[in-house]
C-alpha cells in the first residue's frame, strides 16, 4: 500500500475535522510533502463534506437579520466614500496573476514530456484544461469584484454628503416618481420603486438634457425594472457634467436604447431643483 493509498483513506475524515490528533498529525506531515494525489483528493473531500450542509433542515433567517446586515454594510460603504473611487481603481488593477503553482505545474509537465510523446500529448491536454480553468476562474473573480465595486459605488453615491438629490416627476397619475442621486465625483444612481416595466423587451433610458440652447439630449444607460417594479441604475461615468445639465429625463425605448429619444420623456427632474443629500 503506497503512502497515498494509506493516507487517502483518512482524507474524508480530515476534511470533516473528525480525525484524532495522532492521525491528523501524521496526515498533515504527509500533506506537507505536497503529494499531488492526496492534495487533489483532499480538495474534493472538502467539497463532499460541504454537501452535508444540505442535510440540515431548511430554515429561513428573519427579515430583521437582512435589514440589520444591509444597514451595517451601507454604513461601512458610506465611510469609504472618500476613498471609494481610488479603491475601485486599485481593486481593478489588482487582478490576480496566474498562481505560481500553476506555472510550476506547467514547467514540471514540460520536463516530463521530453521522455515520452504519449505523455507529452496527455500533459498538453491537461495544461490546456488547467489554462481554461484558470481563465474561467479569473473571469469569475473579475465578475465578483466588478459586482462588489458597483455595489460599493452605489452605496457611496447614496451616502456622499457632496451628492445632490433630484426627484424625477411624471405627469402620468398612475406612475410613481423616480429619484436620482448625482455625485460630481462618483456618478449618478437612478432608482425607482413600483415602476411598471415597459412592454416586451423595451427598456427605460436615462438622458441628460444640456443647458446649452439647441443641444440634443445626451443618451445614457438603460434599465428594466424587476418583476416588483424596483430598479437601481448606476451610471459610473455620466456623459455630461451636472453644471452643464439642465435636467435628467427618462424615456421608454427599444431594447439596447436609442441615440436620440423616440418617445416623449415620461419622467423629468431639473438640476435647478436638486437638493444636497445632507
Amino acid at each position: 500500500m503506497s503512502n497515498a493509498d494509506q493516507f487517502g483513506e483518512l482524507l474524508e475524515a480530515y476534511a470533516l475535522g473528525a480525525l484524532d490528533a495522532p492521525e491528523r498529525a501524521a496526515l498533515e506531515a504527509h500533506l506537507a510533502t505536497n503529494c499531488p494525489e492526496c492534495t487533489a483528493a483532499l480538495a474534493e473531500a472538502r467539497w463532499l463534506v460541504s454537501q452535508l450542509a444540505y442535510a440540515a433542515p431548511d430554515a429561513a433567517p428573519s427579515d430583521m437579520l437582512r435589514g440589520r446586515l444591509m444597514q451595517i454594510v451601507r454604513a461601512e460603504a458610506a465611510q469609504e466614500t472618500a476613498s471609494a473611487a481610488r479603491e475601485i481603481r486599485v481593486a481593478r488593477a489588482a487582478k490576480p496573476a496566474v498562481p505560481y503553482w500553476m506555472w510550476a505545474a506547467a514547467a514540471a509537465l514540460l520536463v516530463v514530456a521530453v521522455y515520452s510523446t504519449w505523455t507529452a500529448r496527455k500533459l498538453q491536454e491537461q495544461v490546456y484544461e488547467t489554462n481554461q480553468r484558470a481563465i474561467a476562474e479569473l473571469n469569475s473573480r473579475e465578475k465578483i469584484e466588478e459586482e462588489l465595486a458597483a455595489v460599493r459605488r452605489e452605496a457611496s453615491i447614496l451616502a456622499d454628503p457632496g451628492s445632490f438629490k433630484i426627484a424625477l416627476a411624471t405627469s402620468q397619475p398612475d406612475l410613481a416618481p423616480m429619484q436620482a442621486n448625482w455625485s460630481p465625483q462618483l456618478g449618478i444612481v437612478l432608482s425607482g420603486r413600483k415602476i411598471q416595466p415597459p412592454a416586451g423587451d423595451r427598456v427605460l433610458q436615462l438622458w441628460l438634457i444640456p443647458k446649452a440652447e439647441g443641444s440634443k439630449p445626451i443618451p445614457s444607460q438603460t434599465v428594466r425594472p424587476d418583476a416588483n417594479g424596483n430598479f437601481v441604475l448606476l451610471v459610473a461615468t455620466p456623459p455630461g457634467a451636472m453644471e452643464d445639465t439642465k435636467a435628467l429625463a427618462v424615456t421608454e425605448e427599444p431594447a439596447g436604447g436609442s441615440p436620440l429619444p423616440t418617445t416623449p420623456p415620461t419622467w423629468v427632474g431639473t438640476t435647478a431643483s436638486a437638493s444636497p443629500t445632507r
Binding site: 474524508e12 475535522g17 484524532d20 452535508l52 450542509a53 454594510v73 461601512e76 462588489l148
Partner: protein, 170 residues
C-alpha cells in the same frame, strides 16, 4: 448594494439552515450568519477563486464559525483551538457536480441520510454538525472506534456515489 443583496438572498437559507442546525438557537444562528456575511463583505478579497467554488467555501466558513461558537461553550475549546482553520482550505468539485441543481442536491443528501442505519447517520451528524472526533463519537455511541471510522467514511463515499448517480440521470 444590489450584488451583495443578491448574494445574500441566494445563499442565506442554506447558510442559516446549516448554522441553526449546529448552534440550535435562532438568535445565536442569526448572529453567526451576520458575522459570516459581514466577513464576506469586509474581506471580499479573501475569497480567491483558486480556493475552489464559492458556495462550498462559504458553507465551510459558516460551519467553522458555528462550531467555534459551540466550542466557546464547551470543554472541547482548548483541544480544538489549533484545529480550526482561519479560512477554508481549497476545495474542488468533481466534474459531475455541474449537472446538479440545488433542489436535487438537497433531495439526494437528505435521501441518503434517511437511508443510513440510525447509528451511522448519527455518527455522521455528530461529526459534521457537532464537530466531534472519531474517538468522541465512539464514546457517545458506545461503538468500537473502527466501526465509527468506517461508518463515516462509507457514509461520505455513498453520498458521493449518490450525487454522481443523480447527476448522470439528470
Amino acid at each position: 448594494m444590489h450584488a451583495f443583496e443578491q448574494l445574500y438572498d441566494r445563499h442565506c437559507r442554506i447558510v442559516f439552515g446549516l448554522v441553526l442546525r449546529i448552534v440550535q438557537q435562532a438568535g445565536t444562528a442569526e448572529e453567526v450568519v451576520q458575522d459570516v456575511f459581514l466577513q464576506l463583505w469586509r474581506n471580499a478579497a479573501q475569497y480567491d477563486t483558486s480556493r475552489g467554488p464559492f458556495l462550498p467555501w462559504l458553507l465551510t466558513m459558516a460551519r467553522n464559525r458555528a462550531l467555534d461558537n459551540l466550542r466557546l461553550k464547551s470543554e472541547r475549546q482548548r483541544r480544538r483551538e489549533d484545529q480550526t482553520e482561519e479560512l477554508p482550505g481549497i476545495s474542488a468539485a468533481p466534474e459531475f457536480e455541474k449537472q446538479l441543481d440545488e433542489k436535487r442536491r438537497a433531495e439526494q443528501v437528505r435521501a441518503l441520510m434517511t437511508s443510513l442505519q440510525p447509528q451511522q447517520k448519527r455518527a455522521l451528524e455528530l461529526a459534521y454538525f457537532e464537530g466531534l472526533s472519531h474517538t468522541e463519537i465512539a464514546a457517545v455511541l458506545k461503538e468500537p472506534l473502527g466501526t465509527v471510522k468506517s461508518w463515516i467514511r462509507n457514509g461520505l463515499l455513498r453520498l458521493r456515489e449518490g450525487l454522481q448517480q443523480q447527476a448522470t440521470t439528470t
